[in-house]
Structure formats: C-alpha cells, structure tokens
Amino acid sequence: MTASCALETKVLCKSFGALAVANAINFQLLPGARHALIGPNGAGKTSFVNLVTGVLQSTSGQILLDGEDVTRLSQAQRVKRGLARTFQINQLFRGLSVLENVTLAISEREGVAGNFWRPAGKRTAVVEEAYALLDKLGIADEALRAVRELAYGRQRLVEIAVALGLKPKVLLLDEPAAGVPSSETGTIIEVIERLDPTIALLIIEHDMELVFRIARRITVLVQGTVLVEGTPAEIAADPHVREVYLGERVTP
C-alpha cells in the first residue's frame, strides 16, 4: 500500500513554539488523485505544503514521495523527485517576462540551468516547450511581457505554468484562485480540469464550487489536525464539518 502512494505523510508534526500547525498528520495522496485539502483560515494548510516541499522542517514524522523517505532532503532534491507546488500569494519573477519565468523552471528541470556559456534564450527546445505550455494555458499572447504588467488573474496562471514546467508527478496547488475575481475563476478551473490525469494533485481551496467540481476526495484540516477525510458527498454531509467549517451554506 505504502509504495503505491504518490505522496504520504506519517504522523507529521510541526509546531511554532506552542502553536501546533501540524498535529500528527497521516495523509495519503494516490497516483492520479484529485484531492482537496480544506479548512478554515490558519488551519495549517499552507504550512502542510511547506512541510511537504521542505520549506519548513518538520518537528517529527515522515514524508514519503513515491514510497521513498524525503523527510531530510532539501527542497531542490524533492523537486528532482517530481514534487512541484504553487503559492497562495504569487511568488514569481516579476521583472522578467512570462516566457522567461517558465523557461527558468524548464532549464532547471532539464539540468541546463548551471551552464555558463550558452545564451539562455538560444536553448530553442527549452524555450519552445515553455511557449507551448503558455499556449496551452492561454497566456502565450503575453509571453514577452513582464509578469508585473499582467492582470492578477493571468499572473495566477503563470504561477501554475511555472510549476507545470517542472513536469511534476505530484502537484500541490495552494489556493490557485485566491485573489482572482470570480468572473475569471472559470479559466483557472478549466486549466486544472485539463491537467494530465497521471499527475497526483492536491489542491487547497476556499472556493467550494471549485473544490466540488475538481476533487474526488477531500481532507478537512482544523487547527493542524485532520478532522475527517472522505468523498465530496461524505464531507458535505458530515455534521462536524458543517459545524466547524462549511456552516449551513453548502448543499450536498
């Protein structure tokens, strides 16, 4: 069972002083999963992503990627094993062009980013791949513009494009629609729906419409503890969840 998980955490714990942001989290993400992680603000969702990717070091517990223990590995080593993430608040190269943002990621994946002598823009295969990716996400027309000149909704797409440039096996999306006007969330949902089905996807989201459209499994996190996990129907019907998180707004 263990070996078939794309991503797994075992009794993962992390505290900031007295505050436990991860409280013995046992979590499994299966290959090809469409899994959502939900929970109120400050529940520890982003911290979970930071732990899994190695931005934060866990206090105790284990993180496994494709059955392999990566708990002590650096961020870069985890990325090499097929793990990619996006950020709740854009982390982009704002002064660089959209095309270059993605090119940087692909160069890194291809192992050419340490090369001293060949002009970066003349690596045609890399740049073409970056362009094709932008084209797929519908932002190729802005390829040469600096990221900071783009509307926020489009920047969110670049955020996803950079992660996809890594050709991940496991993709963690931290609130991909955060800050995007509701008229534009449709584009982002579409992009996520069209993702390669073999990617194991974990999506953190507040927008319940988005969650119920995409997720086939949902985990609810409250104060660093997994409250419940199940299918969307089970989660929507769960009285605890309704109480602490969903309120009465959601219809199953």
């Binding site: 990717t53 931005v55 650096s74 961020q75 870069a76 990325v79 090499k80 990619a84 993430r85 950020f87 982390q91 982009l92 190269f93 704002r94 002064g95 660089l96 062009s97 095309l99 270059e100 090119t103 940087l104 990621a105 160069s107 890194e108 994946r109 050419v112 980013a113 340490g114 090369n115 001293f116 002598w117 060949r118 002009p119 970066a120 823009g121 003349k122 690596r123 045609t124 740049v127 073409e128 362009y131 094709a132 084209d135 190729a140 027309d141 390829a143 040469l144 950079v162 992660a163 440039g165 890594l166």
Partner: protein, 329 residues
Amino acid sequence: MTAKSAAHTIATFARRHRLRPMEALPWVLAVAAYFVFPDYLALGAQILATLLFGLSADLVLGYAGIVTLGHAAFYGVGAYTAGYLAAHGVGSPIIGLIAAMVAAGAVGFISGLIILRTQGLSILMLTLVVCVMLQEAANKMTSITGGADGLQGMEVQPVLGMFRFDMYGHTAYWYALGVLFLGWAVTRTIVHSSFGRSLTGIRENVARMNAIGTPVFFRLVTIYTISAMLAGAAGALIAETTQLVALNVLSVDLSGTILVMIILGGVGRLYGAFIGVPLYMIAQDRFSTIDPTYWYFWIGLLLVLVVAFARGGILGMADAVLRRFKRSP
C-alpha cells in the same frame, strides 16, 4: 497565425543575446582616449582596472542580488598577491595576475561558504567583517605586507617579456584594457547564460527558485567565487601598473566607493560600470583639483540625485528616455 507568432516570439526572446553595435562603443572610446589624452594614460589605466572591479561587483550585487560591503577584500587580496610575488622575484605580470585570481577566488569561495548561508542584513555585516579582518591582518603581518608603510620593492617585468611598463603609462593602459576586455567577455557570457539568468531569478525571488529545484546556495557560492577572481584580477592590475600596494586596497571605504560607482551607472546592466566608474573617477580627478575640500560633497549630491530621480542609475534613465522616444513617434 499561432505558429507564426510563436516563431516570432521565440526569435524575439533569443534576440536579446545578440551582440549589438552599441556594445563596441566602450572599446572604441577606450582606444580613442589613448590617442586623444596621452597625458592621462596613468589615470586611464586605473579607470580600466577599476572598471573590472566594478564589473565583478555588479555580478554579485546587480545580478545575484548579494548586498556586499566587503568586495574590496578580493581586490585587496589580488593586489597583495601580485605585489608580494613581484617583490619576491616573480615579476611576470601575467603570472601575478593569475596567482591573484586564484588567491582571491579561494578567499571568495571560503568566505562565501559561510556568508551566503545568511540573508539580508547579516550578509551585509559579514561581508564587511571579512573585509575589516583581512585589512587588520594585512596591517599586522608587516613582514609580508609591509603593514602601514605599504609593500616595498615591487619589480614588475615587461608584459609577455616584451612590453616594459613605462612612466607615461602606455603599457599599463594597453595591458589594463586587454585584461578588462577578457573580463568583460567572460562576464557578458555568464550573464547571458542559463546560469546567469538563474542568478537573476535568485535576485527576483529566492522562494520561487527553491521551489523550482534550484540549488540556490551552490549557485551563489559559484558566482561569488567567480566575482572574487575578477576583483582579484582588478587588484593585480592596480598593483602591477602602479607598482604600489597599501592597506587602502582592503578598505571598507573602497568597498563602498565601488558600489557608489556602479549604482551611479546602473546595477544589473553589465554596462553600468562602464558609465559609473569613469564618471566617478574623472569627476574625482577634476573636482579634487577645483574644490579639494568639498569634492566628495559633489559626488554625494550626484548620487542622491541619481538614487532619487533615476532608479536604475544613469543607464536606467537613458533606457526610460529612449523608450518614451520610441513610443511617441
């Protein structure tokens, strides 16, 4: 239509690496200056050597975003290495230059391993500390460095065994120009390469570089070492062409001055140093004769104006003007 605009976009993206005609300008001017100002060749050689120092500082500050107040450490180590060798029978300028680069590179590598683990203000303080410690060491080790009196008895042989250093600075000028040209070629290649672009990525957003799997620390140590080697070469040039090395080559003062020069010209633009360094040094030369007491005030005023009104330095300002010019035909 899509295919055509794809090809067009990709070609445009590659085009920025092309060598533009404007890039020949500094070299044309440098050669012209040799003939137009024959009385100022000694100053000219110093400007050229300092330019190389400026290029190396820009790699670290402008490209990788490492804020350093101790870049003179490498310049000084280079100067003392070349100077010491010339004072002890190894007078070949080229050997002195290479030895200086190796020594400065080693200091850059080792200090980089420690310093570059930290960020922000800590980096600033640690670079400063390294510089101060080296200067103090040079001050104490009088048997090697001559201490406060400076290094005595340098005897620099002719370049390549053929071109003797003369009192007018003819050889010094060409020698400095040649080394600067090589340093520029290396620097330009690096900043256009994938490695160079990844440095810009680190400057723009370290968190994202980590998230795309960049070995950030390793990249920073690498560029810090390369930059230290170039700074060491600049120090060697100064030592060999002036036949003089004193403690000021290791000063924090000099570390700050080189930053002022490249900020004036514009950082992270490769050619910022080519504007800022000559401007500063010529202004220093002129102002200090016209107004010896207050010349530094005028330099300071210029810097304040540039920082307040021309983010990106003089080159950045020129860029902005040109762009506006192009937009409104």
